[in-house]
Symmetry: C2
Subunit: 418 residues, 2 copies
């Protein structure tokens, strides 16, 4: 018997996972490769980082999600290289042959040529990042409590977020709430409410991807929550003790990075043209030029302007994943498929309790209504009944009591790589 | 005005925390020192280690628990030494003066002079331990799936637990359930149900602290769950690839340590007589000889035989903590207090779904009834409404679907110490 076509999908994020699922009943063998054992619901990562949710509440094991799809094999490992000519993927030194390849490794943080900033200002892309940031935030208040001079205390009580995209805005709004409400009455030498939360954006306004009117509303909502917003000036220096914005020095012992993103290095490893951010310049079919069987989907993809601009958000990644899978199915059955068309349903960004903005083109909402839309959408799209229920409980409790259910500092020193 | 007496409590476990709470309305200043920011519900640690519960579900921030008790200051730090003459505790280099001291730092794992075994066979005492063990267990199945020869696979699919006390029994029973049920249909190259779970005990029977009849019942329940029980022979060798039991070599890539415990080093640091396990030999008032203002409570304590034997379990630690606090209150009001009397309510050990043993002296229960008693007691004593509810949901789901809500592998490489 002839073997079935082999589809390799690299990355179990929104793009890769929806590609795999679209191949559900196809007569192909799918190999899904991921460095982690779980799919992460990235839109809620900031909740784990700010101790609102436990990590398992926003993640599900890839094997478990796909256990019923018999044509899929899940492999825990790192794709280190791709041989387009030989049609193989190198996973930790072992070559895996493919007939079709879907690369969906997403993006990571970029420090604009200042990679040394990474250790002082962690970014938020994975659950490990989130737990690290959570530990930093909680430990900062502890250090402030233990510090003896006011200057030191203020340094530990100053939190600075670089970048006012959705993640930066979410982090800033939540941090302000933690300082003002969650930790109330828990310290004896400091008043957490005196903590300063700064949101620094080099561009002219917060949430640059949104219409100016909503950016303005978002900034007002942030300021109402107690966030100090600084726009229009870039961070020029960054070290263990704080940052410089232009010439101004700000002492902040906790700096979080929500500014730049760069495509995953695997894009460049393909050896094909990429844009400035390292995203792969694909065809209108989301394939690599000259390699019609190799697709790139999700945040790693630079979609041609004719189609784009396609934002780096989960719905876009899902659409690309589904498209790539559909294109493979079409090829196998000799059909032709039109170019990828991105359908934009709207943009959502949450700011804090009852504060959010939503942009549905003609319809623009902010405040409590946008917040409800955001909450509903995010719980709805969360994978797994248990997660939904537990997240709702945690949020309900957080809402009424300002408590945050996951205020635990870990220090899992030993890496689990084996 | 004269300053109020200063009570320092080292350790926010069951002993230390109940001491602090007993001093609720006392005219003293309490300083609670702990290395972590949270109280851990240790009886359920094995659930976190086996991916049944998220870590935050069995922990609560000490500050949050005690936020309402205005005479308490919580300090995140490590007590590195105690000066009994100078009446000070050294916390990370800073000396803190005390009028009364309660040492409640508990115990840690002991490898019987084979400290090099620690890296191959982690023990389970903290949430960090639990997350490390969880990662090892889950990764072992991944390695088996990726391995190409059967011998390698079997090595990764063999789990060996050293020590058949309550923790060892809980781990073994749960591991057997994970292999047989939780992971069913999730792998393509291995059948997790072929995994071997060995429980190795040097002593003559499992659960040595229980009556022989219940030990026998526990062993039968373990074997029904698929656990291979080996008693009466000690582990003589232990390395990355497995163990030796007497002369017999067993290849097991995942070995967990549930055998010996040793008192926290702080006990020895007191420079007073300790027993073989390093536990402090206290007076009938739980004080250090010649130092009537220094109490030692919980697992760190070797209670005089007249009172004892006192098991190293949460209820005993709580009773000692409350006693020490009461003794301090008595001294302050010039009253005299009798010696510590331990009141034993019973012993519980769970083995797996609907499998447990309970020993209430005359009344001895096993099987489903004991399991219900265990479940009720543990959920009841869990701190925090949110935790109880979330734990119940996770358990209900795990019971009906065999799913485990926390099957996430972390690798938070960077320590959070700052």
């Amino acid at each position: 018997m002839r073997t079935r076509p082999r589809v390799i999908v690299i990355g179990g994020g929104f793009g890769g996972l929806s590609a795999v699922r679209t191949l559900h009943s196809a007569a192909v063998d799918v190999l899904l490769i991921d460095r982690g054992n779980h799919h992460t619901f990235q839109p809620l990562l900031y909740q784990v980082a700010t101790a609102g949710l436990a990590a398992p509440s926003i993640a599900a094991p890839l094997r478990h999600i796909l256990r019923g799809q018999r044509n899929v094999t899940v492999l825990l490992g790192e794709a280190r290289g791709i041989d387009l000519e030989g049609r193989t993927v190198d996973v930790d030194g072992v070559a895996h042959r493919y007939d079709f390849l879907i690369v969906a490794t997403g993006n990571t943080h970029a420090y604009f040529g200042h990679d040394e900033w990474a250790r002082y200002a962690p970014g938020l892309k994975t659950l490990d990042d989130a737990l690290r940031i959570r530990a930093r935030i909680l430990t900062a208040f502890e250090r402030a409590e233990a510090a003896d001079d006011p200057a030191q205390q203020m340094g530990w009580l100053t939190f600075l977020i670089v970048g006012a995209g959705p993640t930066g805005v979410e982090l800033a709004g939540t941090l302000a709430e933690i300082a003002r409400h969650t930790l109330k009455r828990e310290f004896r030498h400091i008043d957490p409410a005196t903590a300063r939360v700064l949101l620094v954006e080099a561009g002219p306004r917060v949430l640059p991807a949104f219409p100016p009117s909503l950016s303005a509303k978002a900034q007002r909502q942030l300021e109402r929550l107690g966030v100090i917003v600084r726009t229009g000036r870039p961070v020029t220096r960054l070290d263990e003790r704080g940052v410089c914005i232009d010439e101004e020095r700000i002492t902040a012992r906790t700096v979080l990075w929500a500014a730049g993103v760069a495509a995953s290095p695997l894009g460049a490893a393909l050896g094909v043209p990429v844009d400035r951010a390292g995203r792969v310049l694909v065809t209108a079919q989301l394939t690599v030029p000259e390699h019609p069987d190799v697709f790139v989907v999700g945040d790693l993809t630079a979609v041609p302007d004719a189609t784009g601009p396609v934002p780096a958000i989960a719905p876009a990644a899902k659409q690309m994943g589904r498209y790539a899978a559909a294109a493979i199915l079409a090829k196998l059955s000799g059909r032709v498929i039109g170019p990828f068309r991105y359908r934009h349903f709207g943009s959502l960004a949450t700011i804090g309790r009852m504060a959010a903005v939503a942009d549905f083109g003609r319809l623009r909402v902010s405040g409590i209504l946008a917040w409800w839309i955001w909450l509903t959408a995010h719980v709805y799209f969360l994978i797994g009944f248990r997660n939904r229920l537990v997240v709702l409980i945690d949020w309900a409790e957080a809402y009424w009591s300002y408590r945050r259910g996951a205020r635990i500092i870990f220090s899992v020193g030993e890496s689990v790589k084996r």
